[in-house]
Symmetry: C2
């Protein structure tokens, strides 16, 4: 059993309106020491199987379902999960 932590973020070339809204709100809150804001999606999946199989599967899931690869990039980490935690 593995836990996959998936991060999906816009490619740097894509304008991210939500991040812009957050930047505006922060400057309205007088937080002028905040330099850069990145907004993305975060997923946790629990999957059973061997590490190699799970890695390949998570990659396919990201590519086909979780990320729009035209505008977004993704990365993920795999962590083993013991049955007790699961």
């Amino acid at each position: 059993m593995f836990k996959a932590k998936v991060y999906v973020t816009y490619k740097p070339s894509v304008l991210d309106p939500k991040a812009e809204v957050i930047k505006t709100a922060l400057s309205r809150m007088d937080y002028h020491n905040v330099d850069d804001v990145l907004y993305g999606k975060y997923f946790e999946l629990k999957l059973s199987g061997t590490e190699a199989a799970v890695r390949k599967q998570v990659d396919t899931i990201c590519d086909q379902l979780l990320a729009n690869v035209n505008m977004e990039t993704y990365r993920f980490d795999l962590e083993p999960v013991t049955e007790d935690e699961a």
Copy 2:
């Protein structure tokens, strides 16, 4: 300069319709080994200041802006950023 990685997720008691959609899609893709799906938001902020000040500030930003604390929980990690990377 610090980079704050913020994770905002629904509280376990709150129904997450997007996670349900992903679960349905995965079972339609014949991925029956996926057990659990969690959907959340992910933010990266770059802030200048001392670690203690930045930690307090990020906590306030999460509480007031990034998370709806009625339905969501947040956690964040701080990483020092060297000026070269920034």
